[in-house]
């Protein structure tokens, strides 16, 4: 069995799963077909609903992959051949020639700047921008290595030019490179090949051939500050600012003519985001959205679409457009559509149109499926083996992750990726850590005392001509040499090269240096490299400082070399001033108890427990009820597979009971939680009211949700037997046979009962539509002559197969659309009879409709489980405004809490269906097991420190700490004639991330951050203002 994993596809799915896998103890080969990892997420401008810059939150992860010694990055490579079986695959990878030696290239870009200006469209910019033959796809590309386009290169094609080889001082250009085969042995394979958004093969109605009709992905590049128009919203034909921008949703999705029968699931949301960002870019622009159903499938997504309308004035039309035509002279667009509200035709005039084109499996999926020997489904996505576990392909040992398996958004993909990592870890459990490299540093650390005279060494980098062309480096070096305490300063071509690392060690030894500074590019990518080098030379890594003279000087002051050089002088002088005051810091080792506590014994909890137990960790499930299974106990049949919920539930419970690593506490309650990551003591009371203390390493919150009961709404009252919620209907369907349907001829289902309101429950709980649609089919099966009427607002059938499932059910009922302004009115026709009158304003027909019905089924949203506040308080984790648990980051950390060691999954986070719940549960287990696998973790030396003498115990620091690392503890202080209870702040260095928020908040200056303390920062400011 091999302790390594092949990950195919370097988008966010592949990145996240690779990072998690290395932490779980596996070597990863990450293969990416294009020259850089990052995938689609790297191309996005912002991400909803936080509107973070997409690349800004992704790039740190990309760099982490690059810097990770246990990930071998194989970019510009493709999988050619795969043989073998789970545990032992033999893989042949084709490495395409870059014509630039990856090991030598330093990413300075000298080759590209001198490459002749023969340009082709840049694929990364969706062909809106241009690139030369020598290029890097985007500035933040990982690896930061250039490549040469053989079709464009004059040297390769015509044997002339070759100027790049002459200017490349790293001698990395190699025109002789040939395609190469790389052979690997791996234990498991993860497919994460993502999606494409082709617009060119759409039918002509969408007008994609016109200059000013762009796909949403192209529009992301237009919006992006690093995009082809520098972040100015300009239209392609004449590069003027469009005033009226129309966004057309479902531009090909849910359309049998376009061959895409499913809903792409993310378009409603990114459209709202793009409209909002557009409004933020230019106030004068007016945004219009042509939509059909609003499908906001995710946490607080629906409210985001409402914000677009209410706060940003984005206007939504509910209609599928007829066609888009161009006005030849102005290149403006005319959108023909029927206004469904008025029944009138309209021509909408827009300056720019953005199409939400279908998201389809990425090109080459079919070939890859053949190579891997796995199956595709009816939509050409990779087929999952089992509805309950979408991560497993049809072949053992090959896993599916992210959009290549079916439509999903970024948080779902990230959760999925962690889940896959957890499952791979269970598969390869017996060999984990066998191929993991841990860096052992053998040189003993030099002792540096605060009284020692600072001896500072400085290395200044030219970065080819990237810095050297704009900053006068030799002059700079001469200046630095003259600064006090600088013992040695030199400049070189590439400070990051391996010979430079040797040189740094040599300098430290020869000059007895006790501080070191490198002035080069960004610490984001390179600081850890230099820190490691210092450590290898025996210098504590916190005695290293880095100055970014590339981004801050040569890049931003390209047109003023003198100012750039002056600024570089200032920055290095300030770093020298700080460096003098640095002291060595200690990193602590934290032992981790290899056990996990799972709160909640529903599907989420049981799945997480099984995953952890299969990885060999002792796991405790604590459940407040007397049975395992949670909400699944009340469900009848699951959709879209139409299997009895109890079958799956019983299977799972059996598996959980049989697992020796799982201990279950039913009818149990948590009393108290003490401690921190790796070292929790959880006090519980078991079913016999006996208190127990459990030693726990990590905690997973899987407390689920419950159905909202719409008291007194739509005749939902105790005395009205035939008005019930969906869950109550489920119970009947499950237990009562069909005799109870006697005398019932017409059933009316009302969707969005008390959901998506202006006030109260404002969110869409995502799962009720699917459940209602399922029950239509079941009712019809029991009694085919039943007439079923569905009153709906929008139908949330966004997942893979759901649209088709809904398409089939549509035949079995009458669907009437209503809106929030005109709620249906239900009245009882007589006191004694179960007969109701329904009056509804049908927005499709724009008319009132009245009919009688015998049974009313209300679809209500899922709400958080009871008493979560108490639990949240004990765990010291937050709830969101709706009362669900709040994750650390809605996009990239959907399963983590900000507090290390506590995770969440399932409906505790947000209402979700069983498939997503299972995916998340595996993900949470994967995340939790990272700590458990490590046995011990190293804390950072950069943490906050309280000076107890100055601390007045006000607690302000505790209230702002995002990581819950601060406790305010009371102690009694004895004075001569009085004893006083005082409060003091205590910072747990295991949890502290050194962000400095507490230090900035402390009114008494009692908190300082190591390596960024007040003296050090003041010294830098003084140096800037007072020295020259």
């Amino acid at each position: 069995m091999e302790a390594s994993v092949l990950v195919i596809g370097g988008g966010i799915a592949g990145i996240q799963t690779s990072l998690d896998l290395t932490e779980l103890g596996f070597k990863v080969y990450l293969v990416e077909r294009s020259p850089s990892i990052g995938g689609r997420m790297a191309q996005l401008d912002k991400t909803f609903p936080t509107n973070d810059c997409s690349l800004c939150i992704l790039a740190p992860k990309m760099v982490e992959v690059f810097r990770n010694p246990n990930i071998e990055l194989l970019t510009y490579c493709e999988v050619k051949k795969v043989e073998g079986n789970a545990g032992d695959f033999r893989v042949t990878i084709l490495k395409k020639p870059r014509y630039i030696d990856e090991s030598k290239c330093k990413g300075c870009g000298d080759c590209a700047s001198k490459c002749p200006k023969i340009e082709v469209p840049n694929l990364f910019d969706m062909n809106l921008g241009k690139r030369k033959s020598a290029y890097i796809p985007f500035p933040q590309a990982v690896p930061p290595v250039y490549l040469i386009d053989p079709e464009l290169c004059l040297k390769i094609n015509k044997g002339v030019c070759g100027v790049c080889a002459k200017v490349c001082q790293a001698e990395a250009i190699d025109f002789e490179q040939k395609p190469q085969d790389v052979l690997l042995n791996v234990g498991a394979i993860v497919v994460s090949t993502g999606f494409d958004m082709p617009a060119h093969n759409l039918s002509s109605r969408w007008g994609y051939s016109y200059d000013n009709v762009v796909s949403a992905m192209e529009y992301e590049r237009i919006l992006c500050a690093s995009g082809p128009f520098g972040g100015h919203v300009l239209r392609p034909s004449d590069q003027t600012e469009p005033e009226k921008i129309a966004f057309v949703q479902c531009a090909g999705s849910r359309d049998l003519h376009e061959g895409v029968s499913y809903c792409s699931s993310v378009c409603c949301m990114y459209t709202a985001k793009e409209a909002i960002i557009t409004k933020e870019h230019s106030e004068n622009s007016k945004c219009f959205v042509f939509r059909h159903d609003i499908r906001a499938y995710g946490k607080n997504f629906y409210e985001f679409t409402q914000r677009a309308q209410q706060e940003y004035g984005v206007k939504y039309f509910q209609t599928k457009i007829s066609k888009i035509e161009e006005e030849p002279e102005s290149k403006d667009l005319l959108i023909h559509f029927e206004n469904l509200k008025t029944g009138e035709f309209d021509n909408f005039h827009a300056n720019l149109v953005v199409l939400a084109t279908p998201l389809v499996p990425s090109q080459g999926s079919m070939e890859l499926a053949k190579i891997l020997g796995i199956k595709l489904d009816e939509y050409k996505f990779f087929k999952e083996r089992d509805y309950y576990n979408k991560s497993k392909s049809t072949k053992d040992g090959i896993y599916l992750c992210g959009f290549c398996q079916g439509p999903m958004d970024i948080p779902e993909t990230v959760a999925d990726a962690s889940g896959v990592a957890g499952q791979v870890a269970a598969l390869l459990n017996s060999v984990k850590f066998e191929q993991i490299k841990e860096k052992e540093i053998e040189v003993p650390e030099l002792e540096v005392k605060s009284t020692d005279e600072p001896r500072i060494g400085v290395l200044i980098c030219h970065c080819g001509i990237n810095i050297g062309k704009y900053v006068h480096v030799p002059l700079l070096a001469e200046y630095v040499r003259a600064l006090p305490n600088v013992v040695h300063c030199e400049d070189n071509l590439y400070s990051c090269s391996s010979d430079s690392q040797a040189r740094i060690k040599e300098l430290i030894a020869n000059h007895k240096l006790n501080r070191f500074i490198v002035a080069s590019c960004t610490p984001r990518t390179h600081e850890s490299l230099f820190q490691e080098t210092c450590q290898e030379a025996g210098l504590n890594k916190y005695l290293f400082e880095m100055v970014n003279i590339r981004d801050q000087c040569s890049w931003v002051h390209m047109d003023d070399a003198e100012a750039a050089t002056q600024k570089a002088k200032d920055l290095i002088r300030m770093a020298v001033a700080k460096s003098r005051l640095l002291s060595p810091l200690k990193e602590e080792l934290l032992k981790i108890t290899p056990t996990s506590l799972i709160i909640g014994g529903g599907v989420a909890g049981m799945t997480a427990a099984l995953n952890l137990a299969n990885q060999g960790f002792k796991t405790f499930i604590i459940e407040k009820e007397g049975v395992l299974g949670g909400n699944l106990n009340y469900l009848n049949v699951l959709y879209p597979i139409e299997e009895n919920a109890s079958d799956f539930l019983n299977r799972t419970i059996k598996e959980v009971n049989a697992n020796k690593n799982i201990q279950i506490y039913l009818n149990a309650k948590i009393q108290d939680i003490k401690g921190y990551v790796g070292n929790y003591i959880v006090s519980i009371i078991d079913s016999k009211k006996k208190p127990q203390d459990l030693s726990i390493g990590t905690i997973i919150v899987a407390t689920g949700g419950k159905e909202h009961k719409p008291k007194d709404l739509f005749q939902y009252k105790k005395e009205n037997k035939n008005v019930m919620t969906q869950l109550e209907l489920e119970q009947k369907l499950k237990e009562k046979g069909k005799s109870w349907l006697e005398g019932i001829n017409r059933v009316t289902t009302i969707l969005c009962v008390n959901a998506r309101q202006h006030e109260g429950i404002t969110y869409c709980s995502n799962i009720c539509c699917g459940n209602s649609i399922k029950n239509i089919g079941l009712l019809k099966k029991l009694k085919p002559e039943l007439e079923i009427v569905v009153l709906y607002r929008d139908l949330q059938m966004a997942k893979k197969r759901y649209e088709d499932y809904y398409r089939e059910r549509r035949k079995e009922a009458i669907f009437l659309r209503y809106d929030l302004d005109n709620l249906p009115i239900i009245s009882k026709t007589s006191k004694s009879q179960e007969d109701y009158n329904v009056k509804v304003f049908d927005t499709n027909l724009q008319d009132f409709l009245e009919f009688n019905t015998d049974l009313i089924v209300l679809s209500t949203p899922m709400v958080p489980a009871d008493n979560l506040e108490e639990l949240a308080k004990m765990l010291k984790v937050p709830l969101d405004k709706n009362g669900f648990f709040l994750e650390a980051h809605v996009k990239l950390r959907p399963l983590d809490f900000a507090t290390d060691g506590i995770f969440l999954c399932g409906c505790a986070q947000w209402p979700k269906n069983i498939q997503d719940t299972i995916s998340q549960a595996n993900g949470a287990a994967g995340r939790a097991s990272r700590f458990l696998s490590a046995k011990e973790i190293t804390t950072s030396g950069i943490v906050a420190e309280v000076d107890p003498i100055n601390c007045i115990g006000c607690g302000k620091c505790q209230s702002v700490c995002p990581y819950n690392a601060i406790d305010i503890l009371e102690s009694t202080k004895e004075f001569e004639d009085v004893s006083l209870v005082v409060k003091k702040s205590f910072i747990n260095s295991a949890l502290c991330k050194g962000c400095g928020t507490c230090a900035a908040t402390c009114p008494n200056g009692a908190i300082s951050i190591k390596q960024y303390d007040f003296d050090q920062i003041s010294a830098m400011i003084d140096s800037y203002l007072l020295e020259t």
Binding site: S204, R205, C250, R254, D255, L256, H257, E258, H292, D293, T319, K320, I321, S322, K323, H336, F337, E338, L340, G343, F345, L795, R807, R810, K811, E812, I814, F815, L816, R817, D842, N844, L845, L849
Partner: protein
């Protein structure tokens, strides 16, 4: 119909809706909600052009024209509506078809129109189905030219007598789509089939878009083994196949040729009414591409192939000012494209030519049927002479 999710695109693309209020999506929703009777009683479905633009664009592929056809049957038979005043030409042509459907009435049609040099028979291999063209002679300008040229083309290629029936009955298209008279249609179909079988023909060729669709699709629904008995070909298909089989080639325009620049109007029955695999819209364009190489100029109109605009009338229903507006729109598009408008549906040609009497600005456009257009551009490839040339 139950797949309809009320996106409203049909109502947006509907060609009729550009000249009157007409919303298929709402009609569907009304029917689904149980108001079928209301829809039928309103008579609104007599207005539909059955051009099938809505099917072409429906994301759920709902066949609204078929719904209209069935509704017309119900409107006539259940709601007792008789749309006499809506039938153009005082209903004469649908009456003729109806008479022909009677069991003991057999037409004896004059074959005087058969051009000299064309040998016809009543037994053989290939049947040319002329359709209603001879009946039009009394009302329209030279409708027989289509039949004559079509037959000329076939005879020139086949060099053997071609079946043209004296007792040919109407295909029933207008009865079926326009009048909702399903039984009459079935009677006509049975009569035709019997007659075809008697001749021993294996191939049936027609130059009419409506006859072609009717035989190929609607008869096939009634008689499942029809396609194994007969090959049904539109003249376009016939010419295309012969060209691909290298039996014929196309000629260069002469210096005096006046029909060098042309455009093409796709009839709905040859585009939106056929399954994609038949693909006549592309086949005819392949022929035009070959002509373009020889020196002709083919220009597409803005709306073409399955997006082609409607000629404004269907199955002799609703010839009125709204229909004229639609026709006028199409003619203006043609005018910007080329001086000659070629089509392959005799009805389209008749409707366009009729409008030319009303509007001077479009009167100059020459309207030709495919048969009339292509007849003098075809020459035989003689394999022997070819071989000799090579030597």
């Amino acid at each position: 119909m139950k797949h309809c999710y009320q996106c409203g695109r049909c109502s947006g693309v509907c060609q009729l809706s550009k000249v009157q209020k007409y919303t298929p999506s709402k009609i569907i929703q009304l029917i689904l909600e149980g108001f079928e009777e209301k829809v039928l009683n309103s008579g609104v479905l007599w207005d539909c052009l059955t051009c099938n633009q809505c099917l072409k664009d429906c994301p759920e592929k709902i066949n609204f024209a078929d719904i209209v056809r069935i509704a017309r049957y119900k409107m006539r038979h259940e709601a007792n509506q008789n749309p006499e005043e809506l039938i153009a030409h005082k209903g004469i042509y649908t009456t003729i078809a109806e008479i022909m459907s009677r069991p003991y009435i057999e037409p004896k049609r004059s074959l005087k129109w058969v051009p000299k040099g064309c040998k016809v028979t009543n037994k053989g291999d290939i049947l040319y189905y002329v359709g209603c063209l001879p009946f039009y002679e009394y009302e329209f300008e030279d409708p027989l030219s289509i039949a004559q040229n079509a037959l000329k083309i076939i005879c020139q290629i086949e060099k053997k007598p071609i079946i043209v029936l004296e007792e040919e009955t109407c295909c029933g298209h207008d009865i079926y789509w326009g009048q909702g008279k399903l039984k009459t249609f079935i009677k006509l179909a049975q009569k035709n089939l019997e007659k075809f079988e008697k001749t021993g023909a294996t191939t049936i060729i027609t130059a009419c878009a409506e006859c072609y669709r009717t035989f190929k699709i609607d008869y096939a629904k009634l008689f499942p083994n029809l396609s194994s008995k007969f090959q049904i070909k539109h003249l376009i298909e016939y010419v295309y196949d012969k060209w691909k089989q290298k039996e014929i080639q196309f000629k260069k325009p002469s210096k005096t040729s006046k029909d060098v620049e042309f455009t093409y109007h796709d009839p709905c029955r040859l585009s939106r009414f056929l399954p994609e695999e038949i693909n006549l819209t592309d086949k005819v364009r392949e022929i035009f591409a070959a002509l373009t190489k020889l020196g002709y100029t083919f220009t597409e109109m803005k709306h073409n192939k399955s997006n082609s605009l409607c000629c404004g009338v269907n199955s002799w229903m609703n010839c009125n000012e709204k229909s004229k507006a639609l026709r006028y729109k199409r003619m203006l598009e043609a005018k910007t494209a080329a001086p000659i408008l070629v089509t392959s549906c005799p009805k389209c040609e008749i409707h366009f030519e009729c409008l030319q009497n009303d509007f001077e600005d479009i009167a100059e456009i020459q309207i030709l049927d495919f048969s009339e257009f292509i007849v003098d551009k075809i020459e035989m490839i003689n394999p022997k002479t070819e071989g000799e040339k090579k030597k």
